[in-house]
């Protein structure tokens, strides 16, 4: 990148199925105030504000203009970025680019969504063109298909998906900002959850939450001046993909592998499991997390299930994945991909509180998933 960029402030609003006590602007304001507090700066120092979310869920046309009061964008530069589920990470990457370009020193970027409002399934199906919408029933069918395929190709069982869900819930119970904190004790607890579409259980799929996330991104000279623990943005990568019938899983390489190869090659990462200390991945289903272990080359093809079985990716484990509880516990879709980056930054600073990993975290990789299997990756480091 032309100029070095650091995250100096991370803000999260509490997430829940419904947040009737705040409107959208006030919910965003919670995350913005938390980020300003974390960065120890006043809103006047912020030069640009990006307000990102998915219009369909908000039912706002030009949501960034509508929420100026809450976002602090009044009389400041800014715009709205909008890609599918990756909108939070695209908004963060846009902020990194705006600062790296040298045109801005401090940029506030916000990811928010209130999914209590309308029916999310309808908006997800509306990603298909109008003439096909009668024959689309959301992404859950695609995830179910990928899960069936995974079980055929490996020895993974339903229990392994339950282990992933159990890990997510254990971590979420240590994260006050997570939405679902169920206190699941065992795999049997997960097994009680009803099957939505075989083999996917209700608990195997991400919830719909209301919440906001905010990041304050600063240039090198500003970051060193105002922050004791800036988190450096080493690299980021965006790979989109055209709609393919086998949306998830499938034999040949997809955007996840291609994005991972690009970012690893540029940063000299040969053994991700060793070179990267912690992963915050965007896993809409328990099975997808096992796929992502393989797609991000943390382990070989068809062996993702072994990692979860041996507890390697627990919070205390050698390769912690989603210490924050991940998307299975919290999914306000506009904020979700940005939370992956924010949580990773807090791990590097050691400020994650209860869900801080036991091992020392110097390098993290955050991923975003959305659209027709699009992938965004952000590599953060404690020092460049």
């Amino acid at each position: 990148m032309a100029n070095r960029v650091a995250i100096v402030g991370v803000g999260r609003s509490t997430q829940a199925a419904r947040r009737p006590e705040v409107n959208d602007a006030e919910m965003i304001n919670e995350a913005v105030r938390a980020a300003l507090e974390d960065a120890q700066i006043d809103i006047k120092k912020v030069q640009a504000v990006l307000t990102n979310s998915i219009d369909g869920f908000d039912n706002f046309y030009l949501g960034d203009c509508l929420l100026v009061d809450g976002s602090g964008a009044y009389m400041k530069s800014g715009m709205k970025l909008h890609t599918g589920g990756t909108v939070g990470s695209t908004g963060a990457i846009a902020a990194f680019n705006m600062v790296a370009s040298g045109m801005f020193d401090i940029v506030l970027t916000i990811g928010h969504q209130k999914q209590e409002r309308g029916n999310s399934m309808g908006t997800l199906c509306a990603a298909a063109p109008g003439e096909v919408r009668e024959y689309v029933q959301g992404a859950i069918g695609a995830f179910a298909q990928a899960a069936v395929e995974y079980m055929q190709n490996t020895d993974a069982k339903l229990e392994h998906a339950a282990m992933v869900r159990l890990k997510a819930d254990k971590n979420a119970c240590r994260n006050p900002y997570a939405h679902l904190r169920l206190g699941l004790k065992s795999i049997e607890d997960v097994a009680k959850s009803p099957i939505l579409i075989w083999p996917l259980r209700l608990l195997d799929f991400c919830p719909q939450s209301c919440g906001a996330a905010a990041l304050i991104v600063a240039s090198e000279k500003v970051a060193k001046k105002i922050s004791k623990k800036p988190v450096w943005v080493a690299d980021h990568e965006t790979v989109h993909e055209l709609q393919s019938e086998v949306v998830f899983g499938g034999a040949e390489e997809k955007s996840q592998q291609i994005a991972a190869r690009h970012i690893y090659k540029r940063n000299g990462i040969t053994n991700p499991a060793k070179d990267i200390d912690c992963f915050e991945v965007y896993e809409p289903s328990s099975w997808e997390e096992m796929y992502l272990y393989e797609h991000f080359f943390i382990t070989e093809h068809n062996t993702g299930w072994k990692l979860i079985e041996k507890g390697m990716t627990e919070l205390e484990g050698p390769i912690p994945v989603n210490p924050s509880g991940g998307v299975l516990a919290t999914n306000a879709i506009g904020a979700t991909a940005m939370l992956r980056i924010g949580e990773a930054a807090l791990q590097i600073r050691g400020d994650a509180g209860e869900h801080q990993c036991t091992k020392d975290i110097k390098t993290t990789l955050s991923s975003g998933l959305g659209g027709t299997n699009w992938t965004t990756l952000v590599l953060l480091k404690r020092s460049l």
């Binding site: 990148m1 032309a2 100029n3 409107n23 504000v49 998915i54 219009d55 369909g56 039912n59 706002f60 046309y61 030009l62 960034d64 203009c65 509508l66 100026v68 009061d69 964008a73 009044y74 009389m75 400041k76 530069s77 800014g78 715009m79 709205k80 970025l81 909008h82 890609t83 599918g84 695209t90 990457i93 846009a94 990194f96 680019n97 705006m98 600062v99 790296a100 370009s101 040298g102 045109m103 908006t123 997800l124 509306a126 990603a127 298909a128 063109p129 109008g130 980021h236 990568e237 965006t238 790979v239 989109h240 993909e241 055209l242 709609q243 955007s255 291609i258 959305g370 659209g371 027709t372």
Partner: protein
């Protein structure tokens, strides 16, 4: 800024009230094909072609949750990078510039498309009002603009005739623009006799429903010089948000535009905009807006918009020709309007504006607005030297 960003190729579709015969992507492809042929660039990953895409469209206008999927195949997004800006097209150019300056990619294709005729603009615009306190009133951009027009015209004694002159000028200029949708030879009386939509805005005072797309290829300075012999440089750009609630703003004023213009002029090293700018392309969705935005841009004193149009300074032979292309009033879709202004400014600076060419234009201004009463204002200065 040490390194400059160049626009190496531009194209736009002929704006049309109802492009019922093509899909959104195919409409955009009409323009995309021209820039690909002109530059010979391909979507390749080895740095010798187009590295990534920045698109600009709205889910509400396309009726599709992720509307960049409509152009995905045409801008080469398969296993490549694409980002969508969901504000006016000029902001996509602004973001693409920063994307290149950040070093992530060197050459970008930037597109925008919008088909207003396929849906109800009024209902969609109503969705941009705050739901609890304003949306229930059933306002859309026309109603809000009429509130601003009355306030502005009342405070500075701007007359309906002066607003009508803007329409006469712009629709007349459009006769020289093959891409314009609705060129017209009008008199002030014609405009004032057209049906009243919402006091004081007559039918001809407002921009018509329009379909269209435009596209440009942008590159880092050293690559831009290789790609074309006369790249146009973006020397200054900024944008700024006004308040959302109409009651929070003095609608006779446009503080956000003034701030954005100041920052853009400072970046471009412009001290006296009226002297140093040779041609201006301003986003005027309603006739009064051209006068108000002229004041905000510092091209005339506060309240002097009426005198400026009376003086003829903004005519083609005036001191500062404004909207030689015919502007939004002669037909531009909402999302596309801002980028069309940039495209027209580039054509002026490359001397390719045909019969609407402002002779030896060196510095051009392009301006775009997003939202109710131009809540997000974007100002861009371009030059060909």
């Amino acid at each position: 800024m040490p390194e400059r960003i160049g626009i190496v190729a531009v194209a736009q579709t002929k704006y049309h009230p109802n492009r019922a015969e093509v899909k959104e992507g195919e409409m955009a492809y009409e323009a995309i094909k021209q820039v690909l042929q002109e530059t010979g660039l391909k979507y390749v990953n080895d740095g010798s072609g187009i590295d990534a895409a920045v698109t600009c469209s709205q889910d509400f206008w396309d009726g599709r949750t992720i509307s960049s999927l409509n152009v995905a195949s045409f801008v080469g997004t398969h296993f490549r990078c694409e980002e969508k800006v969901a504000s006016d097209g000029i902001n996509a150019v602004f973001y693409a510039m920063m994307h290149i300056l950040s070093g992530e990619h060197d050459t970008l294709i930037v597109t925008t498309h919008c088909k207003e005729s396929q849906t109800s603009p009024s209902i969609i615009e109503n969705h941009s009002f705050e739901p609890v306190l304003m949306r229930g009133l059933g306002l859309d951009f026309l109603g809000a603009a009429a509130l601003q027009a009355n306030r502005y015209m009342n405070k500075y004694k701007i007359t309906p005739e002066q607003c009508a002159k803007v329409v006469v000028k712009n629709r007349g200029n459009a006769k020289n623009n093959p891409y314009a949708q609705a060129p017209m030879s009008l008199t002030v009386k014609d405009v004032l006799n057209s049906r009243m939509l919402a006091d004081p805005i007559h039918e001809l005072d407002a921009k018509p429903v329009s379909d269209g797309a435009c596209v440009m290829i942008m590159a880092r300075e050293e690559k831009a010089k290789k790609l074309c012999k006369n790249p146009v440089w973006i020397t200054g750009v900024s944008n700024c948000y006004e308040a959302h609630y109409l009651g929070d703003r003095d609608l006779a004023d446009c503080k956000a535009l003034t701030k954005a213009a100041k920052q853009a002029y400072k970046m471009a090293g412009i001290n006296n905009p009226l002297q140093e700018i040779d041609v201006a392309e301003i986003s005027e969705k309603y006739s009064y807006e051209e006068l108000l935005w002229l004041e905000g841009l510092g091209l005339c004193e506060r309240g002097g918009g009426g005198k400026m149009i009376d003086s003829g300074a903004t005519k083609m032979d005036g001191k500062l020709p404004v909207n030689p292309s015919g502007g939004c009033l002669s037909g531009n879709p909402t999302e596309v309007a801002g980028m069309t202004r940039v495209v027209e400014a580039v054509l002026q600076l490359r001397g390719e504006a045909g019969s609407r060419q402002v002779p030896d234009a060196k510095v051009a201004l392009a301006h775009g607005t997003t939202g109710i009463c131009g809540q997000l204002q974007t100002v861009m200065i371009l030059s060909n030297s």
